[in-house]
Structure formats: structure tokens, C-alpha cells
Amino acid sequence: MSDVDTSPLPLDAWHRGRGARMVPFAGYAMPIQYEGILAEHKWTRESAGLFDVSHMGQLVVAGPEAEKGLETLLPADLGILKDGRLRYSLLLAEDGGIVDDLMATRRGDHFYVVVNGATKQGDIAYLESRLPRGVVLDHMKEQALLALQGPKAVDALSRLVPGVEALGFMTGGAFQIGGTGAWISRSGYTGEDGFEISVPGAKVAEVADLLAAEPEVKPIGLGARDSLRLEAGLPLYGHDLDTGTTPVEADLTFAISKRRRGEGGFAGWHRIARELEEGPVRRRVGLAVDGRQPVREGAMVLDADGNEVGKVTSGGFSPMLEAPIAMAYVPVASAAAGSSVTLAQRGKLFQAKVVAMPFVPHRYHRKGAAG
């Protein structure tokens, strides 16, 4: 077992004790897999997978100006966000580029914001430089974060946390798990029903033990986390999103609330409003690749004359479809579902078709919805 030059997370020994292979990720040693990515992926889709996402940044944004301050950097309508509800949003730069993607929850008198691990220090610096005086930003370094994802996550978690089954998709609340205070929301990044569980780092091994002891639950590594979110059509920051990408190009216009589209007042609005009006030059799409060979991040998208006109930003083998799938940025003329594109990787050409995402249907727990 080679050691990696990275910081340990609170569950480091817990992962190693369960046979995880650890790799460096976002400055931490993290489990890439336990028994194998395919098995872990399928287990999550059929039962429930436990993910350690403690590398992510958990922030509290507080103070009377917190809502207005955040609205200068996020295109979300936080004004209509009810207590205990969360929303996917984007931290934006002045030119409309995406600084990070995040989840923001209204939690009583403050907002609880979860950002990506690799970008959290930069996000904090950006927020501190841009939020009005009087807004207090607290990075809760002592909090760990677990995700329990899959169709049986609710069965396993409600045994330990009675009442948690009443949460609807994208809502959260304060609970106790094994005597430990936890903030639990019905959310995640796999396309499945599931929960995210924020607990103190000092208690997370106990909580992980409790969850992993449930018969539906197995620990799942980063490898399957990536293949699950790819199948779910969910972009990964640093790969499918970056500061050179706008929300309209990234096909994340759902994250730009109606009121904000009209009013603006957030970083990048001018460019974003223009792209909403006129359409972007390029757009993130899903690709179904012919054959069996995966086409991965960095592969080129070619036009009919062989010129590079776009890039694959995520790609791999879909365990559920048993076929290669990818996300790419393509010119809008080729972005409609059914369009054919040519890809080039290591000197080899591949044919692919633009398909609607998600590749594998979402199965979120929406209240009032059937199933």
C-alpha cells in the first residue's frame, strides 16, 4: 500500500480497515474503491451506498445581509427558498464563468452551503472578498459529511433515524443518529434517492459504523461516485464546469431562477442574459458512443472536415447501460438530441450520438410524485 502525500480525513482508518484503495483527491487521501467500481456502482443503484464526502467544504453564511449578499454571486432566488430547503446553485465570476457549483440550504437564520473539496479554499477567499461587511462566513472544518444513496437508503436510514423518511427531495432537517446530532437532507449526486448527513468529524466513524451495519448498506468509493454521477448526467466541477464555462453553456439554466433572469443583480448577469436570449455558442451535451471502448475526458470533438470544435469533459463506461457514455461541449448546431458527432482519442476516431441526459433516469423522492 503506497502512502500518498495528502491530509487524512476523519474516516481514513475506517476506509483502510475496510480494504479501500486510497488515492489522492482534492488534497486528501480518499477511497477510490473497496471491492470494485462496477460492483459498488450496481450496489448503489440496487440497494444503498455509503460515501464519505468529508473533503467537501461545509460553510455557514450568516448575518442580516447573508441572503442579499449570496444573491450577488449566485443566480438562485434565495428569497423564495423556504426554511429547511436546499437548492443546487452556482458561484459565479463577473464574466459569467462558474467558480464552483454548490448546494445552498436555508437553515433558520443562516445559509448552509456545501462546496467542492478541490475548490473550497478559493471559494472561501472569493466569498470573503465579495460578501458585504457584516456577513459572517464560517468554514465548519470540524464537520464530516456522508452521503447514503440508493433506493434502499431510506429503509436503512429510517431504522436509525425515525422520521427521516418524511423528508422530501431537496429538504433537510436536524436529527439525531446514534445520539449524535446530525443535519440530514434528502439529496445527493448519484441520481438516486438518498441522503446527505453532516456530523462532527469526531463522531463520524461511529455514525459510519452504524450505517454500514445495516444490511442494505455498503461503503462505496470515489470511482463509483464518478460513474454514478456521469450516468445521472450531473456535471463535475473541474471537468465539466470551470471558470471558462457559463451556466448557459453548461446547460444549467434551471439553476438561474426566473426572478433573477429578469432582475439580474448577480455576477455575470450581462453575459448570461445575452446567452439566454441569443443562445450560447457551445453547449454541454450527453453522448452515446458507438462500440464498447470508453472515450474519456480530453478527447476531441471533430467537425466534418476534421477540425476540433469541442471537447469531451467526462467519459467512461456506463455499468447500467453496458456502453460508453460521455459529456462534451459541442457547437450548438450539433447539440440537438440525435446529432452525430465524431470524436478523436489517441489518434483513433469514434462515432457518437447526442442523447438527452440523464443517461439513466433519476429516481429522486419527490413528494406527491408516484413511486
Binding site: I32, Q33, G36, I37, L38, A39, H41, G223, S227, R292, Q293, P294, R296, G316, F317, P319, P324, R346
Partner: protein, 123 residues
């Protein structure tokens, strides 16, 4: 029949001037779930250290280098059809391709099973 191993975690099983090549159990463990292989066609000349095959796991793509020089005499179609054989039986049903050796002296620098085992233990 003699078995040799390389530092690139391939095995070579040699009878006379005919060799069968595959990846070792250690290699498949490192790669993870194999989902695709591309094997050389019969008749192709491969050179020791040159690219001979591609193996892709869920995680990543890796090249398989020819451990010795020679002419490819056949490839394992069963592995193309079911790439998971590289995980379940890497040193048997999951073989990659066969070669007619052009220079048997190239085998001299390779490891035997015992040397390969200590090589893996040191990795």
C-alpha cells in the same frame, strides 16, 4: 513450457518459439474492472516494448506492451467479447494474444515466477 514475467506486469508462456501473452493477476487488481480490450490482429509484427494492445477499465485506459518481439499469430476473441475475463481469469482464459518469437534471447532478461512475486511485493 516456461513462464516469464515482466516489470509491466505481463506474463509470457513459451513453448518452443510460440508464446502466449496476458496480464498478471497483480495487473488486473491494479486496473480494476476491465470493460474493453483491443488486441493485435494476426500477422502484425510487434517489437519488444512497443504497443501491442489496449486495456480499459472503468477508471482508465492502459497500453499493453509487447514483452518480446515477434509476429502475432492470434488474439483471444473470447476476451474481446467478455473483457471481464481479464479480471476473473487473467492468467488463463483471459490471455491476450499469441506470438511467434523472432528472438528467443529476449526472454533472458525476464523474471521467473519467484522473481516476479518479490517484484510485486516491493511495489
Amino acid at each position: 513450457m516456461t513462464e516469464y514475467y515482466t516489470e509491466e506486469h505481463e506474463w509470457i508462456r513459451v513453448e518452443g518459439d510460440l508464446a502466449t501473452v496476458g496480464i498478471t493477476d497483480f495487473a488486473q487488481g491494479q486496473l480494476g474492472d476491465v470493460v474493453f480490450v483491443e488486441l493485435p490482429e494476426a500477422g502484425r509484427e510487434v517489437t519488444k516494448g512497443g504497443e501491442a494492445a489496449v486495456v480499459e477499465s472503468v477508471k482508465a485506459a492502459s497500453d499493453v506492451y509487447a514483452p518480446v518481439s515477434g509476429e502475432v499469430t492470434g488474439a483471444n476473441q473470447a476476451l474481446v467479447d467478455d473483457p471481464a475475463l481479464a479480471n476473473t481469469d487473467p492468467e488463463g482464459e483471459g490471455w491476450f494474444f499469441r506470438l511467434r518469437l523472432s528472438d528467443t534471447s529476449e526472454l533472458d532478461g525476464l523474471m521467473d515466477a519467484a522473481a516476479y512475486k518479490s517484484f510485486c511485493d516491493s511495489q
